[in-house]
Symmetry: C2
């Protein structure tokens, strides 16, 4: 049988640095655990623009469609700010999401015990926090038509379209309910049904799916503005938050920052099952490309390593290996090993990106 | 000369209770300061639905257009959840904003010193916080067409349209730059130009207005997801945040909650100048109608009293009286007088809604 395949797309900024540490973990799995992967690598974002003249080449897209999973670093940077909209690094990422049809974006916001004091929130508000945001990722205002800048009555007008069909809502709702079943069985669905008709349809469809297929799950509804407030006020009230593409973008970043450990948070973007029964999948850290610290060995590789651990769990059926890696990371943190972003008032042992990789490998 | 006019719309939930305390302050201004107002009162939201069968009657709309300023309590409640979209309490509020053309919504997020410990954030992150969110209020996805729930290919689809013309962006940008001139002269403009063309136009127009008319103002741009993060991480980096209707809805609620004093935050919605040179204006607290505590004397009237103080400043040219009221409120807080929402671990003197009104009048 062929080895499971992985396409690595390091991308821009700190992407290549953090990905280098993942490769060491993959090497360790091969050597010490006898688990070999067919790893290929290619460019996305600004790196792809430099290599191919586009933020995602067709050949890369084809590779992404063929592998068991994609692991992406991060895209974007001020260098590319003046590029045409269609050439911007983000378009590469959005094309991957759209063409692989990765409709369910899983963003856990977990507060690591050893890092609870590092949050800007009070310890008791965030310690033990463990919420999962399920964000719809292939529809909504990110992709709706018409879109563009048009001229009307002698002036320009910028237009984007929020658009959700029933089936687009149904499938991501099922993802959220399935995930909630393995957790505290509570889903909070978030929209602006008081202002937007797309939110009315969203609420109605989510309610129908729960009533018909997931009566064991507790479902609540919340407006997006109130959700932003509640995340700041009392985030532990949530278990799974289900929301659309744009609200999910904002609320998941807000939730991530609550934990004080942005450099620690992984994500998974999942689509429909492939022939092998596993979902189409792309994994990436929640943090961005951080161009300001790129190339300085300051980046924290943990979010990307944890993203790979999510791949082990969801794409390769290697949940035990995922847990092994997660436990090693917890140990390293408990030992006080700290990249610059984790260096709080309580101190610790400062390490570089590869120093963190060393520590994790040693703990493994 | 006629007295300055004020239309009071208490609305739903705690609206009538908090407004009762404002009326006492207005009474005090008449008796002790010789300042008489022509005060009229009418219904909005669920209260209007019950009185008129619609969330804002045409006669009320006409009154709102005729007065110097409108003071609104809050709208909405679970009682009205099952009403048709067009009859929901929110539609009354949105109609006022749209027909009065109140395009600039000013939402200060200030952390009151006496209440800094009440935030879920650490004291040093929020103490002294003083930011102003300028939210575009009459355009964008709240009002764009087409909108609705349609049938397409055998299933329903919910559609809303994000839409901004150059002139809609220009006028609210000018409001933000003018306000920044009286503050720290720094504006952060927030959109998703990496994903939405309407954001590209927004960024371009804001930059052009700054370059041409406000070269003394420092202008930065930030994506909405990053702004949500930065508000949680280090909110004091901001002075004025300028953003669109939907992002402003979410980000201003997030910012409000940072202060830990939601019951304290006023807002002003301003439009074009009227014949008397003052802008069309509506003032309202940032908090909602809080149906769960309505009618129990638990509500904090300060946000609504401070909204009236904003009216004194922006609509009636009575800045000194506004300051007098604000100072009285600070004193009451420093004395430890606390409605239920302000009752932190450090204790204080518990008071009801009218008890807070008593204390403020005594301090005046
Ligand atoms: C980079 C950008 C296109 C992207 C988004 O807006 O979805 C990012 O913010 C994210 O959340 O993954
Ligand atoms: C009540 C609702 C329509 C309103 C909005 O979404 O604008 C509210 O959330 C606000 O921010 O004033």
């Amino acid at each position: 049988m062929a080895n499971p395949s992985l396409l690595i797309l390091p991308g821009d900024g700190i992407g290549p640095e953090v990905m280098a540490e993942v490769k060491r973990v993959i090497g360790w799995l091969g050597e010490k655990r006898g688990l070999a992967f067919d790893v290929s690598e290619d460019a996305v974002g600004g790196a792809a623009y430099e290599k191919y003249g586009v933020p995602l080449d067709d050949s890369t897209m084809a590779k992404a469609q063929a592998v068991d999973a994609v692991l992406l670093g991060a895209v974007g940077g001020p260098k590319y700010d003046t590029l045409d909209f269609a050439l911007k690094p983000e378009r590469g990422l959005l094309r991957l999401r759209k063409e692989m049809d990765l409709y369910a974006n899983l963003r856990p916001a977990q507060c690591f015990d050893a890092l609870a004091d590092f949050s800007s929130l009070k310890r008791d508000v965030v310690a033990g926090l463990d919420i999962l945001i399920v964000r719809e990722l292939t529809s909504g205002v990110y992709f709706g038509e018409p879109r563009g800048i048009f001229t009307e009555g002698g002036e320009r007008v910028g237009i984007n379209t929020q658009r959700y069909t029933e089936s687009q809502i149904e499938r991501v709702a099922r993802s959220a309910f399935e995930l909630a079943r393995k957790r505290a069985k509570k889903v909070t669905s978030v929209e602006k049904a008081n202002v937007m008709e797309s939110g009315i349809l969203w609420r109605e469809v989510v309610t129908r799916i729960r009533d018909a297929e997931y009566p064991d799950i507790e479902l609540g509804h919340m407006y997006a503005d109130n959700c932003a407030m509640q995340l700041v006020r009392a985030p532990k009230q949530f278990d799974v938050i289900l929301t659309d593409n744009l609200f999910g973008d904002i609320l998941s970043d807000c939730a991530a920052m609550l934990t004080g450990s942005l450099g620690m948070l992984p994500s998974a973007s999942l689509g429909a099952p492939m022939a092998n029964g596993r979902p189409k999948a792309m994994y990436e850290p929640v943090h961005g490309s951080a161009p300001d610290i790129a190339g300085q060995g300051k980046a924290n590789p943990i979010a990307t390593i944890l993203s790979f651990a999510m791949a082990l769990r969801y794409s390769y059926d290697l949940g035990d290996e995922a847990t092994r890696i997660e436990t090693a990371i917890e140990k390293v943190l408990a030992d006080g090993v700290r990249t610059a972003d984790l260096m709080g008032p309580e101190g610790g042992t400062p390490v570089t990106t590869s120093g963190m990789g060393d520590a994790i490998l040693a703990a493994l």
